[in-house]
């Protein structure tokens, strides 16, 4: 293998004068050397603005011996730097959740052709909702065609004015007996869907599916028709302008996931060019929401399947009153003390769906540490205390425990937020123990609780399974939450040191020499980390320091 250092050597030599016959290689072929001011300007511009300097900018260096400080400060205030920092942070926050399936067929209207030659009509693809409305999951009659039938419905139940509620026994609903079963076909009506900015755009929606009932009763509780527990209610449809339902993916889910990514980027903007301390990235309780995020959270996120992501709004979660089409309007909200910067934003919680993966990514991204399995397997019963061969307590399992003793408490810090979801597990809605779930087969219990009676702590809310007296570190971590964990990292200096190492690697294009025999830059790390902390964790300050280092201004 040719070492990486050979690349610039080779490059330099290709463009150097022919070396045949010379005794000594040119200086730049042999030793690290300072780059000239033109190359330094190119390096600064590429690193800080993401583009090469213009010819005029190069020319401005003629007659000078070095690059004025104002050039660097100008770059740090530029739009280019904002974009560079966005990309830099995406490289370890991975905020793309476009592959996450939000839309469930019980809460999505999709176009379907109801009759040969007829135009598409939107309706629920979910068989259970069709069955609830029409008496059969798949209606097909000779007179009206498929499902709701291809005719316009204009008569609605007068007992519920303004709700466009369909009376299945009313005269305008067509009833047919198919194989001994009475099926109902209610036709369609025109609706302006919430995802279209142009108010003149209307689509045909089956009339049951388009009902605008806002609330219904489930058990003794009054719930929104947009809540997943209301799915079996015949009087519930998609609500006004279909607001309780997902629409076509490119129009709704893709717009929401793009907004989630942008939400993280806007948090990065605040610490890169917005003057906020870098610690805000993991400690701020604030977040910005735009129209798609607000409308999704307010109207759509509650309508879900327990087999998919759990994104029910938190109790009292602030949601701006923006319309879905307000894509470019962003409003800042305070999410409350349980939140921790980008670590509890949907993009992070849904990109890293388990507490362990969240903890691991936090550790990699902000503490610059990664788990490595031991090279040798541990023999059952060996060690002090003796390790166990089986069981779900990974802090005691042979071999596993090397990493999981540290990982489990760190993962527990993320426990208060639903795995494969974004919801804060409020104790009133999610009691820490539910004896009713022991041995239960309900989807809710199996999703959130330890249902196996033989397991450790049966009935415990899953993240709390090992939050007991024999696991004090887990107990403390889950009680404190992710913000306290991030705060501890800031207080210990680990956060600052990691930020310095990452930024050094990004700009100087190699790791800092801070380990083992190659540790001549340890003092520099300590100096920069201390300076970063004492300068209010200012990211631009740190970047300016790194690009001023001799290391940055020399190449080999």
């Amino acid at each position: 293998m040719i070492p990486r250092v050979a690349l610039p050597l080779l490059l330099g030599c290709l463009f150097a004068p022919p070396a045949r016959g010379e005794e000594v290689a040119p200086l730049y072929c042999s030793q690290p050397h300072a780059v000239d001011r033109f190359q330094l300007l190119r390096r600064l511009s590429l690193d800080l603005r993401g583009q090469v300097p213009s010819y005029e900018e190069y020319l401005s260096l003629e007659g000078t011996t070095e690059i004025p400080a104002s050039v660097v400060s100008g770059y740090l205030a530029s739009e280019g730097f904002r974009q560079v920092m966005r990309r830099y942070h995406e490289s370890f926050l991975w905020p793309n959740v476009s592959n996450v399936g939000f839309a469930v067929n019980t809460a999505t209207v999709a176009p379907l052709e109801l009759k040969a030659g007829g135009s598409s009509v939107y309706l629920f693809p979910a068989p259970n909702r069709r069955n609830t409305y029409r008496g059969s999951p798949d209606v097909d009659t000779a007179a009206n065609g498929l499902q709701c039938g291809d005719f316009e419905q204009s008569t609605f139940d007068p007992a519920h004015p303004g709700k466009f509620r369909v009376d299945p026994n009313g005269p305008s609903v067509r009833r047919t007996t198919v194989n001994g079963t009475t099926v109902y076909q209610e036709g369609w009506r025109w609706v302006h869907p919430y995802w279209e900015a142009d108010p003149s755009v209307r689509i045909k929606v089956c009339a049951f599916d388009a009902q605008e009932t806002l609330t219904t009763t489930v058990g003794t509780a009054t719930v929104s028709c947009g809540h997943y527990t209301a799915v079996g209610k015949r009087e519930c449809g998609c609500g006004p302008n279909l607001k309780f339902c997902y629409g076509p993916n490119p129009k709704v889910a893709s717009v929401v996931t793009a907004a989630m990514r942008e939400q993280v980027a806007r948090a990065v903007d605040k610490v890169s060019v917005g003057g906020r301390p870098y610690t805000d990235l993991v400690l701020s309780t604030k977040a910005e929401l735009n129209g798609p995020l607000a409308a999704w959270k307010r109207d759509v996120a509650s309508n879900l399947s327990l087999g998919r992501v759990f994104t029910v709004p938190d109790k009292g979660e602030p949601v701006p009153g923006l319309a879905f089409t307000d894509v470019d309007t962003w409003t800042e909200v305070d999410r409350g003390g349980q939140h921790a910067g980008v670590l509890t934003m949907p993009a992070f919680l849904l990109r890293f769906q388990t507490d362990r993966s969240r903890a691991n990514q936090f550790r990699i991204g902000f503490e610059c540490e990664a788990f490595e399995p031991p090279s040798q397997l541990e023999a059952p019963g060996s060690g002090t205390p003796a390790c166990r061969e089986d069981g779900t307590d990974l802090t005691k399992r042979c071999t596993c425990r090397y990493c999981h003793k540290q990982l489990e408490p760190l993962a527990a810090a993320f426990g208060p937020f639903a795995e494969a979801g974004t919801t804060f597990l409020d104790a009133t809605l999610f009691p820490r123990v539910s004896q009713a779930c022991v041995g239960s087969n309900s989807a809710f219990c199996r999703r959130f609780y330890v249902t196996d009676a033989d397991a450790d702590n049966p009935g415990a809310l899953l993240p709390w399974q090992y939050a007991d007296a024999s696991h004090p570190a887990i107990q403390a971590a889950i009680a404190a939450g992710p913000r306290a964990r991030a705060s501890a990292s800031v207080d210990s200096g680990q956060f600052a040191a990691c930020t310095v190492k990452r930024m050094f690697r990004f700009l100087v294009k190699r790791d800092m020499h801070v380990q083992g025999s190659n540790s001549e830059e340890l003092a520099l790390l300590e100096q920069l980390s201390a300076g970063f902390s004492s300068n209010g964790h200012s990211l631009p300050w740190l970047v300016e320091q790194v690009v001023s280092l001799p290391q940055y201004r020399r190449v080999r």
Partner: protein, 238 residues
């Protein structure tokens, strides 16, 4: 990166170098004077170019930064700066966007790290990029009467040749080296300038077939220089 990839990149570098340096002298056996083998085959190991003098261990001495290939985002941001608004297009789309996934830009779902290795695929698409973007810039230059608004022919007129206006050709080459590579060319006739001038002159000669070069032939010469610079390692590394 494995040795094979570095080998390919080395080949790409060598090809780019050939564009600017001309044909290499074949190795000669010292004993017989007959042409000797041009390549030694053996276990992969660090190898310097033929006849290169020994170098000092670059890991020793003063710490310095490493070198890195430009990312796709940096290329996308830089091309309009270098070519005064022109960029690589595939159909009506920006080529850097169209080929982002192919060229290793991570989507943070299936891939999470940008591939900055100089793969053969990268070399191929960068050659496409250079030919397309330079053609666009030269077409626009030909229609632009004000030299200060031109991207490539900034200090020459479309009829200027090496023989007729050498000082203007050199001024333009100096401009191109600085604008494209950030390489300042000192006064006089340094070898890097001579090589580019030679490239321009030979490309014009090849295009004109020995006749008096027309504007189109001269534009082809500048297009060749533009492509050579945009495919040179000096453009892609920093």
């Amino acid at each position: 990166m494995d040795a094979r990839r570095w080998g390919v990149w080395g080949l790409a570098l060598a090809l780019a170098g050939c564009v600017l340096q001309g044909p290499a002298t074949p190795a000669v056996d010292a004993g017989s004077g007959a042409p000797g083998p041009s390549l030694e085959v053996g276990a992969p190991q660090p190898v310097l170019p033929l006849d290169h003098p020994p170098v000092v261990d670059p890991n020793a001495g003063v710490p310095s930064s490493g070198a890195r290939r430009l990312s796709l985002a940096q290329l996308k941001g830089s091309l309009p700066v270098v070519l005064r608004g022109h960029t690589w297009k595939i159909g009506t789309a920006n080529g850097f966007d169209s080929r982002a996934a192919t060229l290793g830009v991570p989507d943070y779902v299936g891939s999470v790290e940008e591939n900055l290795e100089p793969t053969p695929l990268y070399a191929k698409f960068m050659a496409d990029m250079a030919r397309d973007a330079c053609s666009r810039a030269l077409t626009a230059d030909a229609a632009e009467a004000d030299p200060s608004k031109r991207a490539v022919m900034r200090f020459v007129e479309p009829t200027d040749t090496v023989a007729g206006r050498p000082e203007k050709v050199d001024a333009n080459l100096r401009y191109l080296r600085l604008a494209f590579l950030g390489a300042y060319t000192p006064a006089g006739n340094p070898p890097e300038l001579a090589r580019l001038r030679n490239l321009f002159d030979r490309a014009v000669g090849a295009a004109s077939g020995g006749t008096v070069p027309s504007k189109a032939h001269l534009a082809e010469g500048w297009r060749t220089v533009c492509v050579g610079l945009l495919t040179s390692p000096e453009f892609h590394l920093y």
